[in-house]
């Protein structure tokens, strides 16, 4: 597979998803870029903006196994990971696999489950394996989590701990439809579907093997110049050095930015990364990894403000610099 084939396949995927998720192709592309590097995605936005629809559409179109878990306050770790049950007739324990044994796990309203249950996902999200009663099980490739959460409700929710937030490659804000035309198109599309959930009609546009092949091209077939690497490092360091920051983006954040920038380059049909790939995704990759000092947090300063400042401060390499 080369960059052109990759781009064609990616366009098919984006096109299929955009047929049900109307008017926000940039979010679809970013989600696909994250999926291509096995990155976990956190969709955070107000209710009714199609977060779950988008995650479901991805699961179907990529030709992967996907399961959905509705997170609730009484959800237990075993409900996600699985458990061993005693089979009296066989005289052995049998593993009943939980929904985490899949390719795409849709964790809907993840902040409604208590921290213990949320933490049960940590190992799976980072190491692509789970440990059940002392025994470790590898998860099938590819594996990534698409989680949704609603930022405006605090009653009965458990905010995700920093350690878990850091394991999400990107946090995406879906946003309201941009224009009147987009909003109109959503209504018109709903009329033509004749039902509320159009994802049931979606067919896979690629198979699992092809998707893994695409992931391998992202891993091994994209060149990142030292200039771009240095740009990523400077960006992260500038964010970390901000006086409003208690804890800045980790090296894992820098690595995540580099990985997803490679995927973004291929989505554009390029086999090399340019600073635009980094800039396009810096906010989504880094903002949720920034912890703001309490005094600034009360003033409404957020991770986005820090990353925006860092982007303004960090010069983009483009000159000769051959000395």
């Amino acid at each position: 597979m080369d960059a052109k084939e990759f781009k064609d396949l990616a366009e098919n995927i984006v096109g299929a998803i955009s047929s049900v998720y109307i008017g926000n192709e940039p979010v679809v592309r970013k989600t696909l870029a994250a999926a291509l590097v096995n990155g976990n995605v956190l969709f955070e936005d107000y209710p009714g903006l199609g977060k779950t629809l988008l995650a479901k559409a991805f699961g179907r179109v990529l030709g992967l196994k996907y399961t959905r878990v509705q997170f609730t306050p009484d959800l237990l770790p075993a409900d996600i990971l699985g458990t061993k049950v005693w089979r009296q007739n066989l005289g052995t324990f049998e593993l009943i696999k939980g929904p985490v044994f899949t390719n795409v796990l849709l964790a809907d309203e993840i902040n409604r489950a208590p921290p213990k249950t949320q933490s049960a996902l940590l190992e799976a999200m980072e190491e692509r394996q789970v440990t059940i009663e002392g025994e470790t099980f590898s998860l099938e490739r590819p594996f990534f989590v698409m989680a949704t959460q609603n930022p405006i409700e605090f009653e009965g929710t458990y905010p995700l701990p920093e350690a878990q937030l850091d394991r999400f490659l990107v946090r995406l804000h879906v946003g309201y439809p941009r224009t009147e035309e987009d909003e109109l198109a959503i209504l018109e599309a709903r009329l033509s579907w004749g039902k509320d959930d159009p994802t049931t009609d979606l067919k896979p546009v690629i198979d699992r093997e092809t998707f893994i092949e695409m992931q391998e091209l992202v891993e091994n077939g994209v060149y990142v110049s030292r200039d771009v690497l240095r740009y990523i490092v400077n960006l992260v360091r500038n964010a970390r050095a901000d006086s409003k920051v208690e804890a800045g983006p980790s090296p894992r954040g820098a690595i995540a930015l580099m990985k997803i920038a490679k995927a973004n380059a291929l989505l554009d049909g390029r086999d090399f990364v340019i600073p635009d790939d980094v800039k396009t995704l810096a906010m989504d990759v880094l903002a949720h990894r920034v912890v703001i000092k309490a005094e600034y947090s009360f003033e409404g300063v957020g991770g986005e403000d820090v990353i925006k400042d860092a982007l303004k401060k960090t010069p983009v390499p483009k000159g000769a610099e051959y000395e």
């Binding site: 439809p177 110049s225 200039d227 303004k312 390499p317």
Partner: protein, 646 residues
Amino acid sequence: MRREHAAILLFFLILISTLTLGQIFVLESPSPADHREKTQPLIHSPLQSLHSRNQAEESQNNTERNNHQKNPSALEPPRDFPGFVPPRSDFRFVPTDVDTDCPVAVLPEDPELVCIKSPARSLPILPWKDYGYWQLIVWYRGKYYIPIVTNDGDVHTVQGVNGEAVVDTTSPLVFSSPGESFSIPFYVSGPYLHINVSFAFTGNIVRVGERNGSVHLEYRVPPFATREEIHPTGYYPFFVTVDTGNRTYALLSWVAFLKKPVVEITNYSKKLAGNGDLPVEVSGRVYYPDGMPVPMGRVWVTVNRSKGTKGFIIGYGKVSNGRFTVRGVVTSSIPPGSYHIIAHYRGYPAAPSNSDPELLIRRRPEIEASLRNDTLIIRVHWRSVPLANRSLTVTVGNSTFTLRTDERGFARLHPIPAGGKKILISYPGDRLYLPVEKTVVLSRGGENGLKISVNRTILTQVSIGLSLVLLLVLVVTGRSRLHLNPGLKLSPPSLKYSKTSVQFIEPRRRVFLPDEIVPVVLSEKAELTVDGKNLGADERFELRLPPGRHLLRAGSEEIELHILPPKEAVVDLYEQHFLPFVRSLGIQTRERTPLEIAGALVRKGIAEEPVLTITRTLVLAKYSERPVGKDDFWRMVDSLEKLGVL
């Protein structure tokens, strides 16, 4: 009876309603002022309503101002923002004391906008107690400034606020004249709920497309809405507010609604000939249709291949009492040809000179000669543009041959007749190109002398082993050619020349490929040193320099040349020539990517094709592993020339 009364009452109500509605939509008005008031409500107009309210409150404000010293807390707005008055068409910006070094705009006293490259933009509008009020925030170099206009016209900058422009424009100043339609472009980035325009001219908002995630719109004013009896000439603020749901953002741009002047060129050069920069003088007058001279302003002069195409700017001049004289330069990169000279008064694209004189530019081509086996290969070109299908005469001894150049400007003489040591190559010239001659001296007996060709003066000081064939090229135009070679020993000539006023005319470019000949042209005869080695005195030199950096000095002037392989050369061209050009247009480059810079240039109306070519080539050279060759380098040079950078 009650029913009859009710029916009569209903009839009168309908009649009154009909009459009232009829009045609202009548456009005819006995006076221009009345007309404006009635047509304005076609567009939701917070500014206009503020104007009205202001006028109504003016007397009250005066009273309040008088009371201000007695009881400041009684004033509305609060003490932090004393004397706030919404923007009016005659408000003024002045230099602020916060991080800015130039006035943003002064209107309308000075008929010219100052800092036109970075003019007054806008804001977010911050809510201020009563949401019916607006604070106007001026954008300048990435910071926002809040000018508070007091009732007596003084301006006080009270604070700066960082923020992002959600609504912006590529045309902060639009020119128009009575009776002409015009459009004001602007674009909105991100989702929005409502757009409101406050503007004195009736028009409508048209969506023209979507690019780079921004919705592009135009406010179009039809010609019937630009009658002078309705709108007196002057500067009109165009104020757009965009409601995103969370905040309201706004944009301030301007329409210069002025009488269309007539520009007439009276004196100009009809013919120019030669290479390098050619001085030119154009003078004329600017007057209004009624014959009154335009008191001031700025004229620039372009030479255009044909009307309606983008030309080359050759100079600027000021208008003083209807007269202007532009002393400009036809730069060396402008190709030969017949051009229209067009004088533009300010930004009126529709007001070029009506006299439309023509200028013929002739250039002197270059003849290069080389020897391969027994064939003399001749190339005729001007700045690498081949002179194709041209006749040449070549005289060897007593024999004269007529050759014709091919599509690439090459001609060949084979075999070279025996018996002659001197070969004279002559190009007779034509309408666009001046005649040129070149003498080639053949000498037999060396090995590889063909690679070195030097001026006679310098040759006497250089020790060169003669080989089988030594071709010495003596350039009739007086040009010296030197290939710097570590083996060459040069001693300084005895002549000394003034080091005061000499300037480098050529090369304009600072980056060259390793096998390229570097032409050096000085403004006068002077000594040239390269990396401290004195090459003697002349006006013209041709150098072949080894890879690396080289310091050229003539008089007190110094330039640094970089000789680099194509990949590095492309990146260096971008840094040495393109980025300074971008910055000269007021576009910040430090935190922008090459693609963002290209987008900003295109939005400013710079030709898209060369900008994209430069950007693509740079991106490949800088960020990819792909090989970058000479073709890429030359493509970039061509594009820089198209932009007038080289």
